[in-house]
Symmetry: C2
Subunit: 133 residues, 2 copies
């Protein structure tokens, strides 16, 4: 184990649910807010902050934000103060998309639930007939 706050890539993979492959991939794609530190032998050493950032990125990905847009956001954060409006824009736009996604998903859910109901009724009616015989 690395000293105190430092985590290896394997440990981060465990804690975030990402694969080590994905972690290296994300780094190469520039979606880590701070340059990942390196320990002896060139090994990556992650801090808790890195994990927190990754967890947010995971949320963004899960909700469908494409990697390039996460990179744009990350770059703004890396640049530091002064571009908060731009960051806000990205987030709001994404929020909008997620909202739409949820509405769509709800529509799908309604249809599926309707169909499940119909099939359940049907299956039950068949079962009832079988008992009645």
């Amino acid at each position: 184990m690395l000293d105190d706050m430092g985590l290896s890539i394997g440990q981060v993979a465990e804690r975030t649910g990402l694969s080590v492959h994905a972690l290296r991939f994300y780094e190469k794609e520039g979606i880590l807010a701070r340059q990942v530190q390196r320990g002896p032998g060139g090994r990556r050493v992650y801090t808790q902050q890195d994990i927190d950032w990754l967890r947010m990125c995971i949320m963004l990905r899960m909700s469908g934000m494409p990697v390039p847009e996460i990179r744009r956001y990350t770059e703004l954060v890396r640049q530091g103060d002064g571009n908060e409006l731009q960051r806000l824009d990205i987030l709001k736009e994404h929020q909008e998309r997620v909202q739409q996604q949820m509405v769509q998903l709800q529509e799908c859910m309604d249809l599926i639930t309707y169909k499940v109901g119909k099939y359940e009724d049907y299956v039950n009616s068949i079962a009832a007939k079988a008992v009645g015989q």
Copy 2:
């Protein structure tokens, strides 16, 4: 225009929002409940039923059901009566997944909304300072 109930692939594309490419692809993948009829010159002729079925498939796709699973479901429907329990299983399983997806999406939404709120506060406080000067 084809007679009465028959629609060309182009018309179906318009009405469903799928591309003609996608329509042919779906057919090749076996996710049309009934064999699409052919008109003169071997052209596809869709009925309202085909469109209704397609609309359901679109819902299933939108909610993340993979094409092979839609095919399985379609095959059951094509086989006709007697396999309703299997159809129900597929639908219920998918319903479960959609439910989880919605929960996840809501979690993402909460985080994003939280961040948007924080950035809005910050941006407003900066604006207020500027006015105050």
